[in-house]
């Protein structure tokens, strides 16, 4: 980005309420967008993403910053930050996957990066919270002008979250109160990097065997998604290397993996068994029996 003042011309609108924000966004349509931390907007020109002429700042709206974590479920305001999630969600509880995904970002970014920002930026395959929310069967609350709707995160597509939309909140639910979950990410450096590949995993155990499983992969396809083939293959298996390697190989076949700046697609496919091994080993080490 040319660092002259002329490069920073968009208008920044500060609504006082969610109603005002929703009506501004409806009025602006495709010319406007909601922002909270604005990291993606500021990086937009660098990555050649189109910018808008009007942005509606929603990060200060109290209705959007509420966070209620209740054992196995969480109600998360759209402008809740990664740091709030990391500080509020029990790393040993059934929503652990959310805590771990939120910790993947350096704190100075996590203090401004929000849940809705992570969901809405597209394309951003490495968005860490999305796989975690997918295995928590998350739904999102959306305002379009006066109309409020709720939809499953898994069904989100560009078409269904059109111009003028405002995500107001996210609801997430663990499989069960005693579910085990984790978020495992592979990065080039040990920390502070975007994932080259990530997996969010939530399982219920029956004795030593997996009774049910939810698995979502990130940074592999253009958008994170749950993988039904891998979920089915995990059921009945133990939390061990054999199950993990089979699941990783299956994921490599089932996913339409795309390469990124840090790793080509073939490399990403090859590391999937190792990624699954790490994830299952961590669940096994968490020492619970579901």
């Amino acid at each position: 980005m040319a660092r002259t003042k002329d490069a920073y011309v968009p208008e920044l609108i500060h609504p006082d309420t969610v109603d005002e924000a929703a009506s501004e966004l409806a009025r602006l349509g495709k010319d406007g967008e909601a922002i909270a931390g604005a990291t993606w907007v500021m990086l937009g020109p660098l990555y050649r993403r189109p910018t808008k002429m009007h942005y509606v700042a929603v990060g200060r709206l109290p209705e959007l910053t509420n966070l209620a974590v209740n054992g196995e479920s969480a109600s998360i305001g759209a402008a809740v930050t990664f740091s709030q999630l990391a500080d509020s969600v029990d790393p040993d509880g059934p929503l652990a996957v959310l805590n771990e995904a939120a910790l993947g970002t350096p704190r100075a970014i996590g203090n401004v990066a929000t849940v809705a920002g992570n969901i809405c930026v597209h394309p951003y395959p490495a968005a860490d919270l999305v796989p975690a929310l997918l295995v928590l069967d998350a739904s999102i609350d959306v305002r379009n002008g006066d109309v409020a709707t709720t939809q499953q995160l898994a069904e989100l597509s560009n078409a269904s979250l059109g111009p003028g939309s405002l995500v107001t909140g996210v609801s997430a639910n663990a499989i069960s109160p005693r579910a085990l979950s984790c978020h495992e990410r592979l990065t080039v450096r040990a920390s502070g990097e975007e994932a080259v590949a990530s997996v969010a995993l939530a399982v219920e155990l029956d004795g030593g065997a997996i009774k049910s499983a939810r698995v979502a992969f990130g940074a592999l396809e253009t958008r994170s998604r749950r993988c039904a083939e891998v979920e089915a293959a995990l059921v009945g298996g133990a939390l061990g290397d054999e199950t993990a390697i089979a699941a990783g190989n299956l994921a490599a076949e089932a996913l339409d993996v795309v390469g990124g700046p840090d790793a080509p697609a073939d490399y990403k496919r090859q590391i999937l068994p190792g990624l699954m091994k790490r994830a299952l080993a961590r669940l096994a080490a968490s020492g619970k029996d579901g």
Binding site: R3, K5, Y8, V9, P10, E11, L12, I13, H14, P15, D16, E20, G37, A38, T39, V41, M42, L43, L46, Y55, A57, G59, S83, T105, P106, R107, A108, I109, N111, V112, S191, G192
Partner: protein, 158 residues
């Protein structure tokens, strides 16, 4: 709409009225508009942490933080840790004594990040310090001296 969020910024306790576009990066405002060149810039894309400052008590990378989001808020920069006529903070002093500063480009960001850590977690473990530094790159020191200086500060404060 909130007209109270005019273009006023409190920096290190002093109010400033600004006339810059809202998406101008806070780091550039600090350095070029206000002459607060203690805040450094390296990558300008949120990856190196050199530009870390605190806004309303939360660290942010100011190279990708639009000044328009900081209006009405309180910003602390490295100049706000210890005034030129005051003694250094214990963390700054320990940086000096441990040899944690070489070229110095990363130092203001390191100090802001680690001051924040010590405020949140007064007795951090070495792992806590390493985790806190995930977003701060140093090309000179190898981090060892920075970690030592931080742990020495925590120990002296206990």
């Amino acid at each position: 709409m909130n007209d109270a969020i005019a273009s006023t910024l409190t920096i290190n306790g002093r109010e400033h009225d600004l006339d810059v576009p809202p998406f101008y990066p806070l780091a550039v405002v600090l350095r070029e508009e206000l002459g607060l060149t203690g805040t450094k810039t390296g990558c300008f894309e949120g990856r190196c942490g050199a530009c870390t400052v605190s806004v309303d008590g939360q660290t942010v990378v100011s190279c990708i933080y639009p000044v328009g989001l900081a209006y009405g808020k309180s910003v602390r920069t490295v100049e706000g840790l210890a005034h030129a006529t005051q003694p250094l903070t214990p963390l700054q002093q320990n940086f000096l004594e441990a040899g944690a500063v070489q070229c110095g480009i990363c130092t203001p960001g390191m100090l802001m990040t680690l001051t924040d850590l010590l405020e949140r977690v007064p007795q951090p473990s070495e792992d806590d310090v390493r985790d806190a530094l995930a977003g701060n790159l140093c090309r000179c020191t190898g981090y060892r001296k920075i970690i030592e200086a931080t742990l020495a500060t925590a120990e002296a404060g206990s």
